[in-house]
């Protein structure tokens, strides 16, 4: 067990590699109840969100979710989050555990709209069922039409006998569902999913596999690829920036970066010599200290040693040779396209 934002959480239940492979080839279950929830209600909810977030919440329909960035005036991330539109006057935000208090304060303190911001983390636990067989297992536990639910859409309904919000989202690079429910019910739902998934050899998965899965899919982790000084463009998340929507916090910096190009950028790499890069290691280009590793690990499914790094934009190109300093030794790696892993969609 490790302390993670004040939560005691297992790194693994039965080994990171086995859990990781279960999610790529079968199905895995994650307890992600540490994630924070914030609710926004009122006629101008969407205006509050769109004044502080980079993506366009106004494009959402009822029952649709989007990935977005809650930004500071420098265009850096206060947090990254999922914005769910329950109704035009009711939005549900899923945020990082470690940032939830500052997220809530940022939304509340910049709220000049007819909208009410509620810190709701205490009302929800979250379980994530992920993998190519997640749909089959989850469908047997609810009358909701999960097969007909599109990626990044959600619905309210009974799941394993419990009133829940079920979203077709995830942080693994696989198909799957994230299920929000009252904390009093989550243990029961957890057991019900494990029991129902026994035929598919479902595995409970810990933080370790969650990290290696998201890294193979090159999804950002706050405090690693993104933070208060990193903009969405630098993080390779330009697709969540909508410059043409209403004015929003950080827009000027982003508009300038868009016009001039970024100076530094997240890039993916693969080790070309024996050695495993780790978070924080230095990256050298042509003998010069050029940047740092933001996340790196062996990739259990791909069978390679991979990572993400922050580099001057001119080096963040596929094929670029780099060196990573591992315990005083420089080991050769190469910039490669990301994501490292992409599932084949049916």
């Amino acid at each position: 067990m490790i302390d993670f934002g004040g939560w005691d959480m297992p790194v693994a239940y039965g080994g990171i590699v086995a859990e990781h492979r279960a999610v790529r080839t079968g199905v895995g279950l994650f307890d992600v109840s540490h994630m924070g929830e914030i609710e926004i209600r009122g006629p101008q909810s969407v205006d509050l969100i769109d004044s502080l977030c980079s993506n366009r919440a106004a494009s959402l329909r009822d029952g649709q979710a989007q990935y977005s960035g809650l930004l500071n005036p420098r265009g850096g991330f206060v947090d990254d989050l999922l914005v769910h539109r329950i109704a035009t006057d009711h939005f549900f935000l899923c945020v990082n555990a470690s940032n939830q208090k500052q997220d809530f304060a940022w939304l509340r303190d910049n709220n000049s709209f007819d909208a009410e911001v509620t810190f709701a983390s205490g009302n929800y636990d979250q379980l994530a069922i992920q993998g190519p067989q997640a749909l089959g297992v989850a469908s047997r536990l609810t009358r909701l039409d999960l097969a007909g639910m599109r990626y990044y859409w959600f619905a309210h309904g009974e799941f394993a006998g419990v009133a829940a919000l079920v979203a077709r989202t995830g942080y693994t690079g696989e198909d799957g569902f994230e299920i929000y429910m009252p904390p009093t019910e989550s243990e029961r739902v957890w057991r019900a999913i494990l029991e129902e998934g026994a035929n598919e050899s479902i595995r409970p998965c810990g933080l370790g596999a969650r990290n290696t899965l998201r890294l193979e899919a090159a999804m950002s982790l706050y405090g690693h690829e993104i933070d208060a000084r990193t903009t969405p463009y630098e993080a390779g998340l330009g697709w969540i920036v909508k410059l043409r929507k209403r004015a929003f916090c950080g827009r000027e910096v982003l508009a300038r970066q868009k016009a001039e190009g970024v100076r530094r950028k997240i890039a993916g790499f693969e080790m070309r010599q024996r050695g495993i890069a780790r978070d924080g290691y230095r990256v050298f280009v042509g003998g010069i200290d050029a940047g740092h590793v933001t996340s790196a690990s062996p990739a259990p499914y791909l069978g390679k040693n991979i990572g993400l790094c922050m580099l001057p934009a001119e080096y963040a190109r596929s094929g670029q040779a780099i060196e990573i300093e591992i315990r005083g030794r420089r080991v050769v790696a190469e910039i490669v396209p990301i994501p490292f892993y992409k599932r084949t969609r049916p």
């Binding site: 790194v11 693994a12 080994g15 370790g208 290696t212 024996r274 495993i276 062996p298 259990p300 315990r327």
Partner: protein
Amino acid sequence: MEYPVEFRYTEEHEWVKIEQYTATVGITHHAQDQLGDVVFVELPAIGAKLQAGSPFGAVESVKAVSDIYAPISGDVTAVNEDLLDAPEKINDDPHGEGWLVRMTVFDGAEIQGLMDAQKYAEYVAAETVG
């Protein structure tokens, strides 16, 4: 878990087995259990001079890298090259086929400072509870 009584143990979870003037060194069952699936091992060259308490290599799992410290001082006489292709031997048999290096023994007094099996088991139990 039984820790072999003929071994001696360090606070950094290495074991050392002394036979004549040669010591075999590995990491303990507890250490491999904490690390999880071992995927990579970095070992010194034969002839390397190790200093008691100094790092001489690393064992890496998917989740973390862990330095290995020399339990005693001496020169490396053999390294377990099987681990380069099969690092999982450290998980499967940490006190046997998962050995890391063999080294000469210079100073018998250094061995006296290490824990015996019973003390090490108590040390692990205390650390796990804490």
